[in-house]
């Protein structure tokens, strides 16, 4: 019994379950020479063209960029940059229809080429001397992401530290119509092999297996010739069957291994790269030519000259189609990608991206629309065709029923969305669409579940924190009360005792008290209260300094309690007094002014007419009038206006007196305060008053 490696060396091929044989229709383009497309008027370069995160933009509108100059910079390993495909000026950076099935807009750099093709400095690497790290860095900096379709960052796949048995180069290109890789292999087999050499240097595999579908004899011959000097490079012709180019399927075809569910090929010692990626790797490392262009098959019956075009990344599909003589039909479909897995474009301004291998513009007779969806007759042809050995008919049933548990049990996640099931389905059921929706739904549910868990944790943490704070506060208050009692001088204690005694006496004989006595007592109580408040403000301050060591959130909460205290009118005044005697004076002046006003114009109809905000629109200019140039003041004024608008709306039916007086009050301080911080304080005061007035108004209404 020969070992697996011996079998592979001997050229044994295996088979995968299912698969279909759709008409290939590659002859329209595969025999023709590769054409370089002239510069389009505009290039639309989405900043994210791969799986992962976008790089950080480092250019701005109006800037001139050179060919190959990076437009974004990768600041983590899942990001790869994009580059200016040619020299020119950046017109703007905006949201533009993306090359994604959803066509949702994504950030795109719009570039006007100047036709000079002026390169930035290029520094080719010498792979004989370059170390592994610098090569990988070069791959990332050159913006290389898998060009087979998924667009996974290549430096991650090539920088794998796990031991690699086989490096598989995917040149199968099994989807009908597409011949971009075929053209590349015919055009540049030696560069491809150089790219494979670099990948080998990074991964050091036992053998390199190059899988090509048997219907590309010229490419096979070219690659075989280019590999003739390499001992452990094996070019393998795989039988024509869709989807033999699927990653998992090709691995099974060439090595008889299966990637365990939920794992990656690297876990079984296999790394797969697309042939176009290998080419891009060679260009990036040896020529310092980042990924700026790619070969795109433009085909379909509505295109007069179907051919393979070397197009710059960012070329709008419309320019590419026009270049090939596109004549649209009514109900035209334009597909990005192949007929099996590609997606239709809603408009033609979508740009070519790094993963675009085909633009297919079929006539309606060539690829007719799917007929009406009939009921599943459980014929099982989908199960026969499924390369992942799933049971599509059951999955359909559970997808319709939204039974996510059953879908998981029937391994929906293992569906590679190749479309073989929907291709064979006699009832023309768009099975893949059902699975995609179900998969998205499941992903969303998982996300929600995770979020719910986090929310719960945060909620519980918050409750625990609040509870702890409450306990702490309680303990502190008790402590403070104790220390206060101890620290208070004897005479004040006596005073308290005296006051208590007086209270008792009062209770005993309140009727006998003279008016002067009562007034004096009241004065005394007032003084006591003031003293207590001052003390409290001091302790509050010390609490704030204590809480600095806590988490920021906690700190903010303490601040919150402070500010909440500040909201109350009298307290705020007290605090201000403690902090700054000047402010206290100002506050006192304010209060006096207000009291005067309230006394002077309580019910004058003229004042009411002048200041009463009858509608939000009226309130706005009234508040805006005293505003100075300061933007913060503007914000305050706006806030005031809103507050007033609210109030006006709420208390429209209530008596006008409190409204008018409060409105008058709120406007005055703003006009008087030159200092911005004071203005904010005043605003807070005004708000609190407005609220009070509002509640008063409501109260008076209920009275």
């Amino acid at each position: 019994m020969p070992t697996l490696f011996q079998q592979i060396q001997a050229g044994t091929l295996w088979d995968f379950h299912g698969g279909i044989h759709p008409p290939a229709r590659k002859a329209q383009t595969s025999g023709k020479p590769l054409v370089q497309m002239p510069l389009p008027d505009r290039l639309y370069i989405p900043i994210r063209q791969h799986i992962g995160v976008a790089g950080r933009l480092i250019v701005s509108a109006g800037q001139r960029v050179l060919k190959g100059q990076p437009l974004t910079v990768a600041d983590n390993s899942m990001a790869v940059p994009v580059h200016a495909p040619t020299s020119g000026t950046i017109l703007k950076i905006t949201e533009h229809t993306s090359a994604h099935p959803s066509a949702l807009p994504e950030t795109t750099v719009i570039l006007a080429p100047d036709g000079k093709e002026e390169w930035r400095d290029r520094r080719p690497l010498n792979i004989a001397t370059a170390d592994r790290h610098s090569i990988l860095e070069r791959l990332q900096d050159s913006g290389i992401a898998g060009m087979g379709g998924a667009g996974f960052p290549t430096h991650l796949k090539a920088g794998m530290t796990q031991p690699v048995d086989y490096l598989i180069i995917n040149a199968v290109e099994c989807e009908p119509y597409i011949s971009a890789d075929d053209a590349l292999m015919q055009e540049a087999p030696t560069t491809i092999v150089k790219g494979i050499d670099i990948l080998c240097q990074l991964l050091s595999p036992k053998a390199v297996l190059i899988g090509i579908e048997a219907d590309k004899p010229i490419a096979i011959a070219a690659l075989k010739a280019a590999c003739s000097q390499r001992e452990h490079y094996y070019v393998r012709e795989v039988p024509v069957k869709y989807p033999s180019g699927g990653e998992k399927q090709l691995i099974q075809l060439l090595t008889n291994k299966e990637v365990p569910a939920g794992r990656r090929p690297a876990d079984i010692g296999i790394v797969m790269h697309n042939v176009a990626t290998a080419f891009a790797v060679a260009q990036a490392v040896l020529d310092d030519h980042p990924l700026l262009s790619r070969i795109v098959t433009v085909t379909g019956e509505t295109v007069l000259q179907p051919q393979n075009v070397l197009a710059l990344v960012g070329t709008p599909v419309s320019a590419l189609l026009d270049f090939c003589g596109f004549q649209s039909e009514p109900r035209q479909k334009v597909i990005m990608g192949g007929p099996m897995m590609g997606f239709t474009l809603p408009d033609l301004s979508v740009p070519i991206v790094k993963t675009t291998n085909c633009i297919l513009a079929p006539s309606t007779t060539e690829l007719p629309d799917a007929g009406p969806e009939l009921d599943c007759i459980r014929c099982g042809q989908c199960a026969d065709a499924c390369p992942a050995t799933l049971l599509p008919q059951q999955l359909l049933w559970y997808s319709k029923a939204k039974d996510t548990d059953k879908l998981k049990e029937y391994h929906l996640a293992d569906c590679i969305e190749c479309g073989a099931c929907a291709y064979v389905c006699p009832s023309e059921i768009p099975l893949v669409q059902y699975y995609r929706v179900a998969k998205a739904e499941i992903r969303e549910q998982q996300r929600e579940a995770l979020k719910a868990e986090q929310a719960k944790a945060r909620f519980e943490a918050r409750n625990a924190r609040l509870e702890a704070e409450k306990q702490q506060r309680l303990a502190r208050n008790q402590q403070l009360a104790a220390t206060r009692q101890q620290a208070q001088p004897a005479d004040s204690q006596d005073a308290v005792a005296a006051a208590l005694a007086r209270v008792k006496a009062q209770q005993d004989a309140s009727a006998e008290k003279s008016r002067e006595q009562i007034l004096a007592e009241r004065e005394l109580r007032k003084q006591q209260a003031l003293a207590y408040q001052a003390q409290k403000a001091q302790t509050n301050e010390s609490a704030a300094t204590q809480s600095d060591t806590k988490t920021p959130t906690a700190a903010s909460d303490t601040a919150t309690t402070q500010s909440a205290a500040a909201e109350a009118d009298s307290k705020a005044a007290a605090i201000a007094a403690a902090e700054d005697p000047r402010k206290a004076a100002v506050a006192a002046a304010l209060a006096r002014a207000k009291a005067q006003r309230a006394a002077a114009e309580p019910l004058t109809p003229a004042a009411t007419a002048e200041t009463k905000p009858v509608s939000p629109a009226d309130a706005e200019p009234a508040a805006m009038a005293p505003v100075s140039d300061d933007p913060r003041k503007a914000a305050v004024a706006a806030a005031l206006a809103r507050a007033k608008a609210r109030q006006a709306a709420a208390s429209a039916e209530s008596s006008p007196e409190p409204t008018s007086s409060s409105a008058a009050e709120t406007t005055t301080p703003v006009a008087e305060q030159p200092d911005a911080r004071k203005a904010a304080v005043a605003a807070a005061l005004a708000r609190a008053k407005a609220r009070k007035a509002l509640s008063n108004g409501n109260g008076s209404q209920t009275e």
């Binding site: 007929p339 099996m340 014929c379 026969d384 291709y423």
Partner: protein, 355 residues
Amino acid sequence: MSFKIASSPHHHSQRSTQQLMQWVALAALPGIALQAVFFGYGVIVQLLLAISTAWLSEALVLWLRKKPVLPRLLDHSALVTAVLLAISIPPYAPWWLIVIGTAFAIIMVKQLYGGLGNNLFNPAMAAYVMLLISFPVQMTQWLPPVSLQQAALSPLDAFCMVFMQYSCSGFSLSQLQLGIDGTTLATPLDTLRQDLNNGLTVSESLQRPVFFAFAGTGWLWVNLAYLLGGMLLIKLKVISWRIPLALLAGLAVPALLFWLGSSGASPSPLFHLFSGATMLAAFFIATDPVSASTTDRGRLWYGALIGLLVYIIRSYGGYPDAFAFAVLLANMCVPLIDYYTRPRTYGHKAKRDVK
């Protein structure tokens, strides 16, 4: 111009449900023709009746369910149900029998379960069983092969028989059932069964004129014709080879064992394979995709189960031929079979994760 948004794949094989059903109906034609030749033209009349009833009732229910009538009528699934039922019942059964049967099949067994694709049971077979239980006399009035009949019936006679139960020349069905030798002739399976019950050996019983060849004149040819049609369907990949093969094996293996054990008391496997509705059931009835198992291994189990059940009922049960019962029983087991025969998904362990 406007663009059309569609979901991938954008390419579809050109085979539709309609075509699959058409092929099933077409492949049954040789068998039907031979059936008409050997057992009289009644089958043609029954076919016409069945098809029109099926279309009418399907259209009616679709209209009541507010579904598009024409597209669903044109999927030809009702047609296939009607054909299968019509060729299963005695050719000169009264007209109302097939009408009731077909309407029952379409309305009760198929549409009330949710229409095509949702029915638990094979509509034709469920209707057959219903008829057999409700009208046992009419359902067992098989005529002997034409060559053994006293008076051959013309197509016109066939028409009269079905609608009035008398041929144009005034013969009643029971008169026609009498053989040349004046004894009532039944189907080979029936005859054999009675003979065996009466203590005759198989070889003695096979001397009777109804058998002429090893499985009876006519029956052999009809079965061969259905086998041919079935092969065509497999070739065209309309049906999978698994169910027919497993079914025939499930029938032949026990037959072989018992035949080897006591050839006097049990007929040969070949007799079983080529008499009654064996081939029709194996290739046309059991392969009805809706009510059959859908996994590869499940289909083998499903077919084998039917074959075995048929053997048991033929040998020990109360009915001479038992496909309808066997198919319905197997239909009931389908969810179970499907559940336990799920294939191993790519990248998963061979051990089934049955909870």
